[in-house]
């Protein structure tokens, strides 16, 4: 066990004051089969002003640990079954609910994984902030409001006064996460737990949030527990790291040691799986037939209003996009949230009304009758971002995989089931699990199920819309490997949509960078990553955290500006980006005057 060696090492450091001490923590869940341990024998110290990262694959118990500290475990199903959590003089595990309430928010604050849903949708930002302040400090409304605005200013949110009156849905993901941070830090807690604070965010936004956290920590001296599976983030932020696997701590060391001299085999595997920029294996350029061709595709969503329901605005989701995907190629589409990537994917499978021309295998999609559309759908399949959401939770996995066969009336029930079993095996799952339901699988497994389903019809093109973004590194690596293997075996093409530049660098043949519905740069992987021309492309690449603690990056001036909006009045169009070939098919956009 690595624990024995790890503990003295951290203990030996000239310890400033320890604010939180976890000793032998065990958390278990009650199930039909009896108690199931979720976290076992976890011990660590948290010192003033330091950042402790907890890393590990999905389901390893990271969130449960943080919830245990906050006293927010989903009682009575899950509870602490052993150990102690010492915070100052108190043992948090023994505190009553009212006593815990005094601690929560005031002395230990938490930021949750999902900024989109962690704020109450029906309360203004201001109300939620002031409320947190007034819950612990005996101040009046105006004073609370003043402090709230101050907190918003501290997290560098533009126009804090106006934000106070806005509702969460009026803010972007990054802004919401800043509100969460402001809320957590408004009362200057001693400990801040950040559970995957940036996983759901764009790289550029992630960068801003991380910088912000670091600045605030430097200013306030808060101790941070940072939970993440992104080793890049760990490298950049943490002083010390705990690596967890299956509810146990497998290694604890300083960040330098973990990255430089990983001891446990698991840690080594984890680090190996981390996608890194510039590490992608070079592949011969693919020169096959185009399997899909988009020419001048435009997708606009009308926003209606007024008495007669006339169109008052258009969302210019995709503007004049042209590219083609060749047979056997992996074509990547990158860009920030909302830039229109998914919309392109939807247009390709006929889910979004579009103008311009989309051809699949030489056949235009527009004007197809339902039968033709159905036939075309056999050739293009899509793997969605969130595998849990994309699988009907009430169907067995076997049925889900056989679904396309049933729909297209291929084979009888027995052969469909056999094919499903075959596909399960192909994506590396046990055929015996055909009768399970989606929720009985892990995220990575679910994504494999989606892939198996997409493979069932042997399509020419698979669209992977953020298919690996939600997965943790090790699983992500496995899924990417699987995709690569299937491609070389079956010769299919991928449209790979992602905002993670490192992943794209690892898998793609060609890359298109999108911004506000338009392609601003397009070229081979080498061209884009080796010689990025467009400033937006550069910004994307620079924002990627590098999983190497030695490469601490300098804080850059941050811009808190908002992303320009794709919404325009009818008749107004965004300035069109003209793509110029700067050699070897490397297209770079310049805005037309």
């Amino acid at each position: 066990m690595t624990l024995a060696e790890a503990l003295p090492a951290s203990g030996a450091a000239p310890a400033p004051e320890t604010v939180l001490r976890v000793e032998g923590l065990c958390v278990s869940a009650r199930t039909e089969q009896g108690l199931k341990p979720l976290v076992q024998d976890l011990s660590f110290d948290l010192r003033k002003g330091e950042t402790l990262a907890i890393a590990g694959e999905s389901g390893s118990g990271k969130s449960i640990t943080s919830l245990a500290i906050m006293g927010l475990l989903p009682q009575p199903a899950v509870r602490v079954t052993g150990g102690s959590i010492r915070f100052g003089q108190q043992d948090l595990t023994a505190l009553s609910e009212p006593a815990l309430r005094q601690v929560r928010g005031d002395r230990i604050a938490m930021i949750f994984q999902e900024p989109m849903t962690s704020l109450n949708p029906v309360m203004t930002v201001g109300a939620q902030l002031s409320e947190a302040i007034r819950a612990h400090a005996p101040v009046g409304r105006t004073e609370a409001r003043r402090r709230a605005i101050e907190a918003l200013r501290a997290v560098r949110l533009s126009e804090p006064e106006r934000r106070m009156g806005q509702y969460p849905h009026e803010l972007s993901g990054g802004m919401r996460q800043r509100v969460m941070i402001a809320m957590a830090l408004a009362l200057r807690p001693e400990v801040l737990i950040a559970d995957e604070p940036t996983t759901a965010l764009d790289v550029t936004v992630q960068r801003e949030v991380l910088d912000l956290l670091r600045d605030l920590q430097a200013r306030l001296g808060t101790a941070i527990i940072l939970i993440t599976h992104d080793m890049g983030v760990v490298a950049e932020m943490a002083n010390r790291v705990i690596v967890m696997q299956q509810g146990r701590q497998v290694e604890t060391a300083s960040t330098e040691d973990i990255f430089g001299r990983p001891q446990a085999a698991y840690t080594q595997a984890l680090l190996a799986a981390v996608p890194r920029l510039g590490r992608g294996s070079a592949r011969a350029p693919v020169t096959g037939e185009p399997i899909a061709r988009l020419s001048d595709v435009v997708v606009r969503y009308p926003l209606r209003g007024g008495l007669l329901g006339r169109i008052t605005h258009n969302v210019h989701a995709v503007e004049h996009v042209s590219f083609d995907i060749r047979k056997g190629e992996t074509f990547a589409l990158v860009g920030e949230s909302g830039c229109g990537k998914s919309t392109i994917a939807k247009a390709l499978v006929g889910l979004a009304p579009h103008q311009g021309q989309i051809e699949i295998g030489g056949q235009a999609m527009q004007g197809l009758d339902p039968a033709g559309l159905k036939a075309m759908r056999r050739r293009v399949q899509m793997v969605f971002q969130d595998p849990m959401a994309a699988l009907n939770p009430r169907m067995k996995v076997g049925e889900l995989i056989a679904e396309p066969l049933v729909i297209h009336d291929i084979g009888d029930a027995a052969s469909q089931r056999a094919r499903a079993a075959d596909l399960m095996a192909r994506v590396g799952l046990e055929a015996s699990h055909l009768d399970r339901y989606p929720h009985e699988f892990s995220g990575g497994q679910r994504q494999r199920i989606c892939i198996a389903r997409a493979l069932a019809l042997q399509p020419d093109l698979i669209i992977a819309d953020e298919s690996v973004s939600a997965l943790d590194v090790s699983v992500q690596a496995r899924v990417l490997d699987l995709l690569r293997a299937l491609q070389s075996e079956l010769g299919m093409s991928y449209l790979f949509i992602s905002h993670d530049m490192a992943v794209v660098d690892n898998i793609s043949d060609r890359v298109a960078v999108m911004f506000l519905g338009q392609i601003v740069e397009m070229g081979t992987r080498a061209q884009i990553f080796g010689n990025p021309q467009h400033p937006y492309t550069r910004r994307l690449i620079e924002a990627v955290p590098i999983p190497d603690p030695r490469l601490k990056r300098l804080s850059r001036p941050r811009d808190a500006s908002e992303v320009p909006s794709p919404v325009h009045r009818p008749g107004h169009e965004p300035a069109r980006v003209i793509l110029r070939d700067i050699g070897d098919g490397h297209l770079v956009g310049t805005s037309a005057g």
Partner: protein, 293 residues
């Protein structure tokens, strides 16, 4: 590579899991009891339900309270209440289960279609639903029943035709949110036909709502039937139904409480039983609930 978080639940039939729940079992028992009572009424009922017995009334013409001979007392015409309840179960089951079920089916169909097709079909269906909602149901029932000749099945149909509206509204709202879920989009990209999406994928998710409205609807439809028969369009006397036994005797709740509270309890119990079974069924049929609870 098995994920540790995968809980191994021994696969079991839905029925077996249903039977493990005590409350569901209790509900099931009541339903079975009522159905058996209705079906075997001719054999179990101690008296002819329509026999206005001479000794069923006091000399002043008051009904007899429960005693050794009339286990649940007699009604205002000197008929045995127990026998009437047993026979009345036939009517009330038809109304509560068939009519209410039919209303549920219509409401679900309308709601699901309107919620799924946002275009003019949805618009027209929902405007029609709004119209029906604004329309006094009782009046519609009266007119429909006056146009047709009242019979149990006509009444059941009439009740179905006026009662689907609320269900349609609720199902509509839920369907429209379900329709935007990813797995529905996924299903479309697979080329699934619309009926397949509607019935294979969306419908199962509506089950909890359908169960809630369905079970709450049992007692309201049984009582509605009584109102209708009072207006001359329900089942005609002397055919008993639980609703009209209450309705006929409701002013006597002090003078002859058994005539009101016994059938009232029967209706509540039946609705409750269906609810218990429905709730359990919902949990059992919802695979995401497996291993939790």
């Amino acid at each position: 590579m098995t994920d540790p978080s995968v809980v191994d639940v021994p696969p079991q039939g839905a029925l077996a899991r249903l039977l493990r729940r005590k409350l569901a079992l209790f509900g099931l028992a009541i339903i079975v009891l009522v159905v058996a009572g209705a079906v075997f009424a001719p054999w179990i009922a101690p008296f002819d339900p329509n026999d206005q017995m001479f000794d069923g009334l006091t000399l002043e013409g008051a009904p007899m309270p429960p005693d050794g001979k009339f286990l649940m007392g007699t009604d205002l015409l000197g008929r045995d209440l127990l026998s009437r309840l047993l026979y009345g179960a036939q009517t009330s089951l038809v109304i509560g289960v068939v009519a209410n079920g039919l209303a549920l089916v219509i409401g679900t169909l309308v709601g699901i279609t309107a919620g799924f097709f946002r275009g003019w079909i949805g618009g027209v269906l929902m405007r029609f639903t709004d119209l029906m909602m604004a329309f006094p149901a009782l009046l519609l029932a009266i007119c429909l029943a006056a146009i047709f000749r009242p019979s149990l099945w006509i009444v059941a149909m009439v009740i179905a035709l006026v009662n689907w509206v609320q269900t349609a509204r609720v199902i509509y709202t839920e369907t429209s949110s379900l329709a935007t879920r990813d797995f529905i989009a996924a299903e479309r990209t697979l080329g699934a036909s619309t009926p397949r999406i509607l019935f294979r994928h969306i419908l199962p998710h509506l089950l909890p709502t359908i169960i809630v409205w369905g079970t709450l609807g049992i007692s309201t439809t049984v009582l509605l039937e009584a109102t209708l028969s009072f207006l001359g369009i329900g089942v005609q006397p002397p055919t008993p139904s639980w609703g009209n036994i209450i309705f006929e005797n409701q002013t006597y709740f002090q003078a002859a409480p058994w005539l009101v509270f016994i059938p009232g309890a029967a209706i509540i119990l039946l609705a409750l039983a269906f609810n218990l079974v429905g709730d359990a069924l919902r949990d059992v049929l919802d695979p995401t609930q497996r291993g939790r609870d």
